[in-house]
C-alpha cells in the first residue's frame, strides 16, 4: 500500500486499520461502491428496480454496518425507505403464488439475504393459512 493510494480491503481489515491506535489513523474509509451516490440515487428514484443482490448479498447488513462507522443521515433514510417499499412489493409477491413466474421473477432474484428471509417468512405463513383452509374443507 502506498500513501495517498486507494485500495479495496475487506471490511474487517479496513475497519481495523482505520480505527487503529496511533497518532494518525493508518487510513481513512470511503463508503463502498454498493452504497455510492449513484446507487442511492437509483434507490431514491425507484427502490423496486434495483438489483440489491448484485450490489451486495447482505446489502442491508452492510448498510447498517457502514452507518455505525459513518454519520450519514441520508444513507440511513434512503435505506429504511427502500426496505419499507421493497417489503410491501415482496409481501404482494409472497402472497401471490404466480408472482414467481411473470414480471416478479426479476425482482425476486434481486433480493438481498435479509429480504429473502422475509419473503420466505411471508410466503410460509400465507401457505400455512391456505393449508389450514384446505384441511378444514376435507375434514368436515
Amino acid at each position: 500500500m502506498k500513501q495517498g493510494g486507494k485500495v479495496e480491503l475487506p471490511l474487517w481489515l479496513g475497519e481495523m486499520l482505520a480505527v487503529s491506535q496511533g497518532p494518525t489513523p493508518l487510513l481513512t474509509l470511503d463508503l463502498p461502491t454498493s452504497l455510492s451516490p449513484r446507487v442511492l440515487n437509483a434507490l431514491k428514484a425507484d427502490p423496486r428496480t434495483v438489483d440489491l443482490r448484485a450490489l451486495a448479498a447482505h446489502f442491508y447488513a452492510l448498510g447498517a454496518r457502514m452507518l455505525e462507522l459513518f454519520e450519514e443521515e441520508e444513507v440511513g433514510d434512503v435505506l429504511s425507505e427502500t426496505f419499507k417499499q421493497r417489503a410491501a412489493v415482496l409481501a404482494d409477491q409472497a402472497h401471490n403464488p404466480r408472482g414467481a413466474m411473470g414480471e416478479g421473477a426479476d425482482f425476486l432474484r434481486g433480493l438481498d439475504e435479509q429480504e429473502r428471509r422475509l419473503f420466505r417468512a411471508a410466503h410460509d405463513s400465507a401457505k400455512a393459512v391456505r393449508t389450514w383452509m384446505a384441511e378444514n374443507k376435507t375434514r368436515r
Binding site: G63, G76, L79, S80, L118, A121, D124, E135, R139
Partner: protein, 239 residues
C-alpha cells in the same frame, strides 16, 4: 434453530382456540348438561336454542343431533355492510371490533367470555375469530345458512381487502412506530406476524446506529442540563 415452529400461533392452533367460542344451536335431541373441565354445558331441549362451545356443536352437527344457527354478523347483509365500510369509509383502518357491553365485568371482556358468535352477538362488527369461525361453519354446516355461497363470496372479499390493508400497513411503519391493528382477527395476526415482525426488525437494524447516536446525544444533553424535563419524561414513557 432449536424450535421448528416460528413464534406465535400456527393456523391450526388459532382454529383450535376458536372452537372454544360459544355458538347457538337448535337441538334435535335431548342432551343433559355435561360436566366438563370448563364448567357444565347448557342442557339441550328441543326446540329451545342453547349456547354451547363450537367443538361440541360441530360434533352434534356431524351426528345430525343439532343445527347450528350462524351468528348475526355472518349474514350477507351484515357482511356486505362491513365490506362496504372497509372499502369506502376507512381506507387504512380495519372495521372496528365489537363494542364491549357497558355492563361487561372484568372477566368477560374477551373471547370466549365475550359472546361473539351466538345468535345475540352484535351484527355490525367482525369478532376476533371471524375468519376461522366463518370458514369452519361454512364447511361444517352449509345447510344452516340461507345463502352459503353469497356468505362465502363476501368472506373471501373481506379477507382480500383486509390482507391488502395489513400489507400496506408496513409502508407507514417505522423502527419505533406502529400501525393501528384494532379489529384484526386472530388468524390474520397469525398470518401477518412473521412478515410484520421481520420488517420491524429490519428497520430497527438499519436505524440502530442512529438510535444509538440519539441516545448518546440525549444522555449528553441531560448531563449538561440542556433538555427540558417534560421532553425527558416523554422519552422514558416511550421505552
Amino acid at each position: 434453530m432449536a424450535l421448528p415452529l416460528p413464534p406465535g400461533l400456527t393456523p391450526p392452533e388459532v382454529a383450535f382456540l376458536c372452537e372454544m367460542e360459544l355458538v347457538t344451536v337448535i337441538p334435535r335431541q335431548r342432551l343433559e348438561s355435561l360436566e366438563l373441565l370448563g364448567g357444565p354445558t347448557a342442557a339441550l331441549f328441543p326446540p329451545h336454542r342453547s349456547n354451547i362451545p363450537l367443538w361440541l356443536a360441530l360434533l352434534l352437527k356431524r351426528q345430525r343431533r343439532a343445527n347450528i344457527s350462524p351468528p348475526p354478523w355472518l349474514t350477507p347483509t351484515s357482511l356486505s355492510a362491513i365490506l362496504e365500510f372497509e372499502i369506502e369509509h376507512s381506507k387504512e383502518a380495519f372495521s372496528p371490533p365489537p363494542r364491549l357491553a357497558p355492563s361487561a365485568g372484568s372477566n368477560n371482556t374477551s373471547p370466549p367470555f365475550l359472546l361473539s358468535a351466538t345468535s345475540d352477538a352484535p351484527p355490525e362488527a367482525l369478532p376476533y375469530h371471524w375468519l376461522e369461525l366463518g370458514e369452519i361453519l361454512l364447511e361444517a354446516a352449509p345447510d344452516d345458512f340461507e345463502e352459503p355461497d353469497q356468505v362465502r363470496r363476501l368472506m373471501r372479499d373481506l379477507r382480500e381487502v383486509r390482507t391488502a390493508k395489513l400489507r400496506a400497513g408496513v409502508a407507514v411503519l417505522d423502527a419505533g412506530g406502529g400501525v393501528k391493528m384494532n379489529g384484526v382477527g386472530g388468524m390474520e395476526v397469525a398470518e401477518g406476524r412473521a412478515f410484520i415482525g421481520g420488517v420491524i426488525d429490519g428497520l430497527r437494524k438499519i436505524g440502530a446506529s442512529r438510535e444509538q447516536a440519539r441516545r448518546e446525544r440525549e444522555a449528553e444533553e441531560r448531563d449538561n442540563g440542556y433538555a427540558g424535563t417534560a421532553e425527558d419524561d416523554e422519552d422514558e414513557m416511550d421505552l
